[in-house]
């Protein structure tokens, strides 16, 4: 592709990085509207000008699905937004979503050469821009669907892994049906990530697109309970199954007092607000603790904890405090979310860990006994291991405490399918390239294989699985040794 950009690289890197327009922090702390407003076309073109079109683009190497960022940037620069979107979609099926939620700083933008001295190209913001442009253009062309193969695939779970696999498989001419346990489609994208970060209408549009491509959806089916994997194959006639059930099981701290009223898992708190829309109670029936004028603490340092604490703020909490046992440098949350949270008045209490929840005589939470932590030597994950400081206990007052320290595998399928291999944390074992499990015709990918990871990794796994499934359906070969060599 010719370099359409007339400015010499030296000039380009002098341009300051574009600023994403945002809702005013004082306003948005009280509503669920999306925080980032999106770039205008001029700003997007301007930002794309900063890309110096590296010979060996670090950005692409660092993107888990290898989006051809350099080419996308050139197309944006040329004003070819729809072509840029199409180029993006060659590797990334859900750009409107990943543009919003990818941890860009540790992926594409972390690899951008401009970041070495100054600010990297705002790849995420541009990705979001072209995806939104495409959505609003009404010119979203349906991809070509290959002639029907007569084979059918069942996909279990409608998160990013399941949705991307569905899209690829239906294009190959297979019949595809997605089974989802909840009443809405999208997995964590609808029940976990809040509206102010990822509007649900975007997920709905992606699902509708898949519908138009011919993907069938059935909600309210808990595979393993409503129907087993074996029944899907033997009775309902599916030739292959992709298990993409995520890592939805909440982890509690296991400290005294976790049964007090007011102690939530982040999953429950977020599911009540996002899936059940309890922030619109009483218009919606599902209730949530009335946080108005109350003190809320959230335990954890990842995206989940950050989403919960910002949600609590929007529900009217007097104080919304993030309690994390390491320091800010170790927080796995996206950098942008940390910045937004600060602006919204979230308090950060780093190097602090609750060891007990305290309640009144009726069982309602009144506070958390916490210890101060200090960082010691790095552990196996490379992060410095926190250890309690003796004699540093103090009570943090709280009416609501939300535990967002992680999740593990949901065991419903594994427990009803004994011939699926699982590791010691109960995650399903699958081949890293073909996504095959040891059970013939069954593939698995996304968080249920890797443990809680990212949207883009789940999506990448879904696409790999689609390739693996398509190959299996075409050849009918199930090399047992290959599958067992995991």
């Amino acid at each position: 592709m010719p370099d359409a950009n007339p400015l010499p690289p030296k000039e380009r890197i002098k341009i300051p990085r574009v600023r994403m327009p945002e809702l005013d922090a004082g306003l948005r702390a009280h509503n669920f509207d999306e925080v980032n407003l999106g770039l205008c076309p001029e700003a997007a073109v301007g930002e794309s000008t900063r890309c110096i079109a590296c010979l060996k683009p670090g950005c692409q190497i660092q993107c888990p699905v290898g989006v051809k960022i350099k080419e996308v940037m050139a197309l944006i620069h040329a004003g070819e937004f729809l072509a840029a979107a199409a180029k993006m979609r060659e590797d990334n099926a859900l750009p409107a979503i990943t543009g919003r939620v990818c941890p860009q700083e540790s992926q594409c933008e972390g690899g951008c050469v401009l970041g070495k001295k100054g600010q990297p190209v705002a790849i995420g913001n541009l990705e979001r821009f072209i995806a939104d442009f495409e959505r609003h253009s009404g010119q979203l062309g349906l991809p070509r669907i290959e002639p029907a193969t007569g084979k059918s695939v069942a996909i279990v779970g409608s998160g990013p892994a399941g949705l991307s696999a569905a899209g690829d498989l239906v294009q190959k001419g297979h019949r595809v049906r997605v089974f989802e346990a909840l009443h809405e489609l999208g997995g964590v994208l609808v029940y976990g990530i809040p509206e102010f970060r990822l509007p649900k209408s975007i997920v709905r549009e992606e699902v509708d697109n898949l519908r138009r491509m011919g993907v069938e959806f059935e909600t309210n089916v808990v595979v393993g309970k409503s129907v087993t994997l074996d029944e899907l194959m033997r009775v309902e006639g599916y030739d292959a199954i992709f298990v993409a059930t995520g890592a939805g099981l909440p982890v509690f701290l296991g400290v005294p007092g976790e049964h007090l009223n007011g102690v939530y898992s982040a999953n429950e708190f977020l599911t009540r607000t996002n899936l059940m829309r309890s922030y619109r109670f009483p218009e919606f029936d599902g209730p949530i603790y009335d946080c108005r004028d109350r003190d809320v603490i959230v335990v954890g340092g990842g995206n989940t904890a950050m989403d919960a604490v910002r949600t609590a703020r929007r529900l009217g909490a007097k104080t919304a405090t993030l309690v994390y046992r390491r320091s800010e440098a170790e927080m796995p949350a996206r950098v942008e979310e940390v910045k937004h949270a600060r602006e919204e008045g979230i308090e950060f209490r780093m190097l602090t860990n609750p060891i007990e929840f305290l309640g009144d005589e009726k069982g309602w939470l009144t506070g958390a006994r916490c210890v101060r932590m200090q960082l010691g030597a790095p552990d196996e994950s490379g992060r410095r291991r926190p250890a309690p400081v003796p004699g540093s206990e103090a009570i943090l007052p709280a009416h609501v405490a939300i535990i967002g320290v992680g999740t593990t595998a949901n065991p419903l399928i594994q427990s009803t399918t004994p011939d699926l291999a699982t590791n010691k944390w109960n995650y399903i074992v699958a081949h890293p390239e073909t996504m095959r499990t040891p059970k013939r015709g069954v593939f698995a990918g996304g968080d249920i294989v890797t443990g809680g990871a990212t949207v883009i990794l789940a999506m990448g796994a879904g696409r790999k699985a689609a390739r693996g499934i398509d190959e299996y359906l075409r050849t009918g070969e199930w090399d047992k040794e290959h599958a067992n060599k995991l």
């Binding site: 669907i145 309970k225 049964h259 919606f284």
Partner: protein, 309 residues
């Protein structure tokens, strides 16, 4: 959408529904439940499956109106639809040949315990069914209770029907009579189940209780349904709903079930004031949804034919 094919009153504020839910009907076992959501803006509530007809693809549930969602549900009739029904959820009751099995059920718990009672009878247990109700109008399914057991006792709190007294009183009387009881299942209000546990635990009689904690997803994802067993936390939706009564912390269960009381009252008051509007809205929404899915199906079919042509 899940169509109601039959609806009838079973007692005061208690209504029985037969609903089309073929997947659930095929797989359900005694003791399992569904979670349903009546309308778009509604909450998800758990209800026990009383029976099923796999051939017809229907399940039967029995609902006692106590708050907004159950009241709304109980205003529906045959021909109406429920937006979402998912299941079967939870572990089935553990059925074995215990010997003499006693079922204690209070109010709507009678409907919930019936399938397990039948299964215990089929497994050659001598089944004693003790049904308790506040008053005469709340004695439900007496014929089915008698059919599912070898001995049946009906009690009302006010003595307006059957014997006067509490189900635990009857249980104690059986024990005082020297009856050897091998298995007990209690289903009903928490104080009743706790009282049963207090009678049987010291005697070491295997006793199960069906815990009605507040649920959201029913798949083990939220942890909102957690109950305390000894010092261990368990999720009622996936580890239960039946648990060993001697381990259950009933106080924590009652405390957690009171979590949303003020919001529930608000919802209920609003519903009582606007019952007719709510119902009209529900029916309009169902019609709109039907139309939309018919259109979508037609469009997809047309498109599909084009794509694969």
């Amino acid at each position: 959408m899940f169509r109601i094919v039959e609806a009838r009153d079973a007692g005061l504020n208690i209504r029985q529904f037969v609903i089309e839910a073929p997947r659930v009907a095929r797989k359900q076992r005694p003791g399992q439940f569904v979670i349903l959501r009546v309308v778009d803006n509604g909450e998800r509530i758990p209800l026990t499956i009383k029976s099923a007809d796999p051939a017809a693809g229907t399940i039967t549930i029995v609902v006692q109106a106590i708050g907004k969602t159950t009241s709304l549900l109980n205003s529906l009739g045959a021909g109406d639809s429920i937006l979402d029904v998912v299941g079967p959820l939870g572990h089935p009751s553990a059925i074995a040949k215990y010997g003499t099995a006693v079922i204690l059920a209070g109010s709507v718990g009678t409907a919930m315990a019936l399938p397990t009672a039948r299964a215990l009878k089929d497994a050659d247990n001598h089944v004693i069914f003790i049904e308790g109700a506040r008053t005469r109008d709340m004695v439900i399914f007496e014929d089915e209770v008698r059919a599912a057991s070898h001995e049946a006792y009906i009690l009302t709190d006010d003595g307006s029907y059957g014997e006067q007294g509490l189900v635990t009183g009857k249980l104690e009387q059986l024990l005082a009579d020297g009856r050897k009881l091998d298995f007990v299942l209690a289903v009903g209000p928490v104080p009743m189940m706790r009282a049963v546990a207090r009678v049987t635990a010291p005697l070491g009689i295997k006793t199960m209780v069906s815990l009605n904690s507040i649920m959201v997803d029913g798949t083990g994802m939220c942890g909102g349904c957690r109950v305390l067993l000894g010092h261990e936390s368990r999720f009622a939706c996936v580890d239960g709903p039946e648990f060993d009564a001697s381990q259950v912390n009933f106080d924590v269960l009652m405390q957690r079930n009171a979590m949303y009381r003020s919001q529930e009252c608000r919802s209920m008051q609003a519903f009582e004031q606007h019952r007719e509007e709510e119902l009209a809205r529900l029916r309009a929404a169902v019609d709109a949804r039907r139309k939309k899915s018919a259109e979508l199906r037609a469009r997809l079919q047309a498109q599909g034919e084009r794509h694969h042509a």
